[in-house]
Symmetry: C2
Subunit: 243 residues, 2 copies
Amino acid sequence: MIVRQAVNVLEILEYFARVKKPATLAEIADHFGWPRSSTFNLLTTLAEKGYLYEPRPRAGYYPTPRWLVMAREASDVEPLPDWTHALISSLSTETGETVAIAAPAGVMAVFIDVVESSAAIRYFAKVGHRVPIHATSSGRALLLQYAKDERDSLYRKIEFKQYNHTTPISIDAVEAELRKSLERGYCQSFADYSRDLAGVAVPLPIGERRLSVVVAGPEYRIGDKTAAIAVTLQQAVERFRAK
Amino acid sequence: MIVRQAVNVLEILEYFARVKKPATLAEIADHFGWPRSSTFNLLTTLAEKGYLYEPRPRAGYYPTPRWLVMAREASDVEPLPDWTHALISSLSTETGETVAIAAPAGVMAVFIDVVESSAAIRYFAKVGHRVPIHATSSGRALLLQYAKDERDSLYRKIEFKQYNHTTPISIDAVEAELRKSLERGYCQSFADYSRDLAGVAVPLPIGERRLSVVVAGPEYRIGDKTAAIAVTLQQAVERFRAK
DNA sequence: CGAATAAATTCACCCATATGTACGATCGAC
DNA sequence: GTCGATCGTACATATGGGTGAATTTATTCG
């Protein structure tokens, strides 16, 4: 069950991150199509907790830096080593595509770090973006690090949906793809989940953590270059991990 | 009206900021005394929105760096100039007390930047901390920048409570204190709001924004040094503003 | 390996809460 | 100053959502 008011808090945070301007109650209410009264309650609550403030009445709400202070401390929970960001940054330059580090989140994979391609046509992904673990290259690079029985218990929770015509829609199909990935030495996906999107990924275990790196972009650019990209990927990982 | 689930989201954020460790559903539920089922709903929601993830099932939830990304961007809404942090940092060293920058938030003043004293006994304040605008030195340094009619409309909203025996509990008392502050050239408060706490503050207008700087600490340390502290304060402001 | 224990997840019901409505404050136009 | 329009705030009410109990899933220990 989705907790609506929890989502609303996040939407307000994201709203300010997007517009980067103070906003009045009316603006926010209109933007989200929320009733004024509800918006009032929510904004008041955030203000009472010290996350918003109003420089002067009717001049709009500002987020306080408290978000930043809290987020900074909370994100130290399990910081990635410095070289991982350098790695994806370098890979993005080399390949010209969007590169991300993914981590497991139940039946999904979350991107915990992303460097976007600078190309006009590119994979548009953000930190926190989630994709099905079984239907994406980044996800399958995570699954490769699971023991068989761990995968099995995951499979039971997956709802196999036909996102696209190449989507694997059974446990067997996924397992088969994993075997193929092992043979070829890297994971790949051609629009298994998102239309027109292709990805090349490899596992990236760091300490106890099972992560993966993925290079992703439009099918027509990745196309037959998967093997070359995989080599670039693996070499970069070795290079940066050494440091 | 307080939106409970909104508060809960913030509490979870603050929880992770405090403990800096992954936490399981059960731990979080027990910590807050929330029912498991409700906690489940909330954590699932945050996970779905990409703010939490579970590296492996039952190993607990981690915050994703998405908090950081969003908070960083949202904090650009009205960034303070760089010199203000240097200012309070320097002042904290000079005075040995906690120093903060305050902004108006309705009938309250919010701290939007804080450098805490390193003394064992000190004013314990955080970014986002809120205090009544009329019963604190930082707040009154804000009120000094209001026009009379703006103050009047604020006064109507204030609920005058006797926080302590020196708390001004009428409009006249507040206005009298503001006049005294003008004469002496700075604002002060001796436990008007918080027991044992004394503060010295001056206005800090930046562009259109009305802010204030406050040096605060235990009454016995601030005591008769208010005039000296005020001088230090004013000189520091001049020095840093010039840059 | 199997039973006991603990944790996670689901679900239906009832109550707390989000909202419609009304009121008051403020602002801008003339 | 006066009026109209707009925005913010208070409150009662119906209904969406939180919770307790039941069920399923995982983990621990004999």
